[in-house]
């Protein structure tokens, strides 16, 4: 299985919340400003306005970024408790810092497999930045990519850019995102696939995102940095937040 992402919270000074996230050679810097004053024309009477800006590593935003922005925006709307901070603006900016060599390929950019492979990284970064900004959230989210090769054999979960390149073209690519309770938040699929294949892909993604969850209750003395980590993304998220809280509360135990 692919290694877990690495993330640092509150890496920027100016923004209200921020996160630097690295996974499979993708590095994204995310920042959140909010809740701040919203422009009259964007104001919503009973909920907060979300604004998502995705900035590619090189060049200005293209329709590809606009499309990803819409997907991230719509997913975050069901994660942020927008009704708790009405008539305000929460501004999410995601700056792609580096891409795998295979995707940034310069002159031969034909290798860019699909814009979907970037989506889970964008979702994770924006969630971490929202956590860092202490924006009220309904739940958390975890997300992953499943790719089905042409021969339909051996689905690739959270594949590296190199794996995608070697086995291209893919017959279909699916992105899944789940909330903290393991409910499906987002699914984007492209390519050709059957219902059974989709079912299987969804199950595999669920496994990666929320496996070993549910048992983690408050009463059971959660060990966030324990050795026997259930390697799900959910557990990983808890670890990242645990480190953040520990740093913040250092003074309680400091001498």
């Amino acid at each position: 299985m692919a290694p877990l992402p690495t993330a640092d919270l509150t890496t920027l000074h100016r923004a209200d919340g921020s996160a630097t996230y690295t996974h499979l050679s993708h590095t994204i810097i995310g920042s959140v400003n909010g809740p701040i004053e919203v422009q009259r024309r964007d104001e919503l009477p009973s909920s907060a306005t979300l604004e998502v800006n995705i900035r590619p590593a090189g060049g200005v935003g293209t329709p590809r970024e606009r499309h990803l922005e819409t997907l991230v925006h719509d997913t975050l709307r069901s994660v942020v408790l927008v009704e708790k901070i009405p008539r305000t603006l929460v501004q999410v900016t995601l700056q792609v810092r580096s891409l795998p060599e295979e995707e940034s390929g310069g002159a031969d950019s034909s290798t860019t497999a699909s814009s979907l492979t970037l989506l889970p990284h964008l979702l994770h970064t924006s969630l971490l930045a929202l956590l860092s900004a202490s924006i009220p959230l309904r739940t958390t989210l975890t997300s992953t990519v499943v790719a089905i090769p042409r021969d339909g054999q051996g689905m690739l979960v959270s594949p590296t850019a190199n794996e995608l390149l070697r086995r291209r073209p893919m017959r279909s690519i699916h992105v899944f995102a789940f909330d903290g309770e393991g409910k499906l938040l987002l699914n984007e699929s492209e390519g050709e696939f059957g219902v059974e294949e989709w079912d299987e892909a969804c199950e595999m993604a669920e496994e990666v995102c929320c496996k070993g969850d549910g048992g983690v209750g408050l009463g059971e003395g959660m060990d966030v940095d324990g050795e026997g980590q259930a390697q799900s993304l959910e557990a990983w998220l808890r670890g990242v937040v645990g480190r953040k809280v520990e740093v913040e509360q250092r003074w309680r135990v400091a001498t």
């Binding site: 000074h13 400003n33 200005v60 700056q95 580096s98 031969d108």
Partner: protein, 292 residues
């Protein structure tokens, strides 16, 4: 309407009073920069520059297009600066602020018009094909000194970048990907860098590398761009307040010393990065193969 918060009257008075007493808020000397931190990414042509809390990332990318009809023998080089709300909620996408326009202009004059990059070397087939180089400047964190940091970032990224090799057979050009053949460094003619001076008290006090609070209080700024040989590429003075002509001369002397320091740091980091990439001598082996 998002707007930049102005500095309070108390802070303004305090900063000016402190400067009168030779004190800067962070304890630096008047002619001291914050420590320069420079790192490179895994890819070629990405430079991450930090001056204290200010952070700028420059990224070079390349494409192949037709050259401009009036400049058949030149490649294309473009520097793009676009602020995002990441650095401040007051920065709106698609609506450049004054600071953004000034930054873009200074980088243009310093790097592009001084011919820091040999654009002729980017030409593949005269009048038909050339490389179009693009430098994207991303402002990640803003605590003053954006111009100086951006300039260091772009120059470092240019020196770090490798463009793909190309084979020309008559009218046909084949671009070889990075995996096929060792890519080639750009031809850099000289290395201009910017030093911004902020002046106070009718030009009685000059500061280098002002942070955001100091920038908000200053009367005006003088931006000097030069290379390590002391050749000035550009001088700009913004702000209406007058300054003594001799003070400018003094600024150029300080600027030269700073530019030399930065050049040295960039060189050092580039060498460290090259060593890291060359682990195991794999690159040397590959380039030997290329030579054959």
């Amino acid at each position: 309407m998002p707007r930049e918060a102005e500095i309070s009257v108390n802070e303004r008075a305090f900063i000016l009073q402190a400067l009168q007493e030779d004190i800067r808020l962070d304890g630096r000397a008047f002619d001291a920069f914050r420590p320069l931190e420079l790192s490179f990414g895994d890819e070629y042509g990405v430079a991450d520059v930090q001056f204290g809390k200010t952070r700028v990332i420059a990224r070079i990318s390349v494409d192949v297009t037709a050259p401009l009809p009036e400049r058949k023998f030149d490649g294309i080089f473009q520097i793009v600066t676009e602020f995002s709300p990441m650095a401040s909620p007051a920065f709106e996408v698609g609506r450049p602020t004054d600071a953004e326009v000034i930054l873009a202009r200074i980088l243009e004059k310093t790097i592009r018009r001084s011919n820091a990059l040999d654009t002729e070397s980017l030409c593949i087939i005269a009048g038909l094909k050339c490389f179009a180089l693009r430098a994207d400047v991303h402002i990640i964190d803003h605590d003053g000194g954006l111009i100086d940091a951006s300039c260091v970032a772009v120059m470092a990224a240019l020196q770090h970048f490798r463009r793909p090799d190309v084979i020309v057979e008559g009218e046909k050009a084949t671009i070889l990907s990075i995996r096929e053949r060792e890519p080639i460094p750009l031809s850099i003619l000289h290395q201009p860098l910017c030093v911004t001076f902020s002046y106070f008290e009718e030009g009685e006090i000059f500061l280098v590398d002002a942070n955001l609070a100091e920038e908000q209080v200053r009367q005006g700024e003088v931006i000097i761009s030069m290379n390590k040989h002391g050749e000035i590429c550009q001088v700009a003075k913004y702000g209406g307040a007058t300054i003594d002509a001799l003070a400018l001369l003094n600024c150029t002397n300080v600027a030269l010393q700073k530019v030399k320091e930065f050049s040295k740091t960039i060189q050092k980091r580039l060498e460290e990065d090259a060593k890291k990439r060359d682990a195991g001598g794999l690159m040397a082996e590959l380039s030997a193969e290329n030579a054959r």
